[in-house]
């Protein structure tokens, strides 16, 4: 008796310890970045262009560049991803072609991000002659987050109970009406969550934008989608490794802004999901 209880306690303790170990690095990253970065954050840092070889001034062009890229990626990836997800979950029959498509999507999500960068360079920058531009970078990031959007959207669509579809069809609604009026409205929160998680990923990646859009130093805002732009992750890489004598607090300040943007996006996703669960009616 006593032995079982003791081993149970030990097991619980080990499980707890492992869980704690997961939280620890996350907490430390946040604490260190906030601690070292917060002193750099002020209005000028957020709204000014970089000055003195990026050692002073602000990071405004990088913030704007990242926002442009993220919005561009979503404009491209959300419609395609959503339509593909609807096809795969509602129309696709279980045959060889569709199994190949599903396998391709799984593999797409496993491709290292630097490979996307090279692909974007070859296809958009060189072959389609978009040059290093916001357009090329957005398209590259869009392809990178497509599998995330497709997978989460499919899950959201498939989690709508089959019985709702049967009811709608049994009332004489067509398949498309059923998808449009019953399935999609009930899957939207899940689709949004996936989309925002994809956005967070797109905002934080360096490799895909390295060859396709990112400017080393560009002390002005982009004027069109064919312009190059600065972006937060690449700017962070540049001031951390390529430019000597950058004040530590500028580096951590940049990291803090990036982290804040990504966390905010995840927070929005969490809030949407929470509201949806509260309202969920089946």
């Amino acid at each position: 008796m006593r032995n079982t209880k003791r081993s149970q306690k030990i097991a619980f303790f080990l499980l707890f310890l492992a869980t704690l170990l997961i939280v620890l690095p996350v907490g430390m990253i946040v604490v260190i970045i906030v601690q070292k970065g917060l002193p750099a954050i002020n209005w000028q840092f957020l709204s000014d262009i970089p000055r003195q070889g990026m050692r002073a001034g602000g990071i405004f062009p990088a913030i704007i560049g990242t926002l442009y890229l993220v919005v561009g990626a979503i404009i491209f990836a959300l419609p395609i991803g959503l339509l593909a997800a609807v096809y795969l979950s509602e129309y696709a029959k279980d045959n060889v072609l569709n199994r190949v498509i599903k396998l391709a999507i799984v593999n797409l999500s496993g491709v290292p991000s630097v490979v996307y960068g090279l692909f974007g360079l070859a296809l958009f920058v060189v072959f389609l002659k978009f040059g290093a531009s916001i357009l090329s970078g957005s398209l590259t990031l869009g392809i990178m987050i497509l599998p995330i959007i497709i997978t989460t959207s499919r899950e959201a669509l498939e989690s709508v109970p089959q019985s709702f579809r049967e009811v709608s069809l049994s009332l004489g609604a067509s398949k498309w009406q059923t998808i449009r009026h019953i399935v999609l409205p009930n899957a939207i929160p899940g689709i949004l969550t996936g989309t925002i998680l994809g956005l967070g990923r797109a905002a934080g990646e360096t490799a895909p934008i390295l060859f396709t859009v990112a400017a080393f130093y560009l002390p002005q805002l982009p004027k069109s989608i064919f312009d190059q732009a600065m972006a937060l992750p690449y700017h962070l890489y540049v001031i951390s490794t390529q430019v000597p004598n950058v004040d530590e607090k500028v580096r951590y300040g940049t990291a803090l802004v990036l982290l804040f943007l990504v966390l905010m996006m995840n927070l929005v996703a969490i809030i949407i999901r929470y509201n949806f669960r509260k309202k969920k009616k089946w």
């Binding site: 049967e166 009811v167 709608s168 009332l171 609604a173 019953i182 009616k281």
Partner: protein, 248 residues
């Protein structure tokens, strides 16, 4: 008048044969009760009448099935399902308000006039004997209703698209006796204007509401006769055993 005419109907789900050589006629304005143990094919039979089985991968049918003298495979499936409505085993409101649940089918069939839709919703809810209970809260979620109310709402929703035949798939399986009585009462009144097919596990319910009763066993139609005959002097020993509760 014959509503449905099945001749030597066989259906399969993959390798499993769910109906074997079923021949049956369903008359207009009757309540046909369908009884039988689980896996007897009674629900498969019901779901073929508005082609809901088609949604099942691996579904296959042979033989003849006519609705109003037309082969159901030649009818547009949406038209058939509008004419042949279905009430499911569990109350299945859509995640919409009470009003929108009833209006859903009407809107899908292209009705735009708000006045017409409101009139149809009221008429359907009255026909399903639920109007008086819920007329003051048409805009609340249908999930706020009790199980029995939800099931009558589902009947109203089916009635709203003005069907000709209504299929009931064990409509009272999750309901208390009072709700069951209300639904049975509704069915008996609906018979005047509609043809009803009732699949039920409750033999007594079949006896209470059915004009005729069909007994299915292992995918075959064992016996079909007037309900009084089935319950007093069935021709087949297996029918007798089933209604006496010797198996099932």
């Amino acid at each position: 008048m014959v509503k449905f005419n099945a001749k030597n109907l066989n259906i399969w789900f993959g390798q499993i044969q769910a109906l074997k050589g079923v021949s049956i006629e369903i008359q207009a304005n009757e309540i046909l009760s369908v009884i039988g143990p689980s896996n007897s094919g009674k629900t498969s039979f019901l779901r073929i009448l508005n082609r809901l089985n088609d949604l099942h991968p691996g579904f296959k049918m042979t033989g003849l099935l006519e609705y109003d003298k037309t082969d159901i495979r030649k009818l547009d499936v949406e038209v058939l399902r509008k004419r042949v409505g279905m009430v499911f085993a569990l109350p299945l409101p859509l995640p919409l308000s009470i009003f929108d649940n009833v209006a859903y089918g009407v809107k899908m069939h292209g009705e735009r006039s708000r006045q017409k839709i409101a009139a149809i919703v009221e008429r359907s809810l009255r026909q399903a004997y639920i109007w008086d209970e819920i007329k003051d809260r048409l805009n609340v979620s249908a999930f706020k209703l009790s199980g029995g109310q939800q099931q009558r709402l589902c009947i109203a929703r089916t009635l709203a698209v003005e069907p000709d035949v209504i299929l009931f798939d064990e409509p009272c399986s999750g309901l208390d006796p009072i709700s069951t009585a209300k639904i049975e009462e509704a069915m008996l009144k609906l018979k005047k204007d509609y043809t009803l097919v009732l699949v039920t596990n409750n033999v007594k319910q079949a006896a209470r509401v059915g004009d005729r009763t069909a007994f299915f066993l292992s995918g075959e139609l064992v016996e079909l006769d007037r309900t009084e005959r089935i319950f007093t002097a069935p021709a087949d020993q297996r029918t007798d055993d089933y209604i006496r509760g010797k198996f099932g």
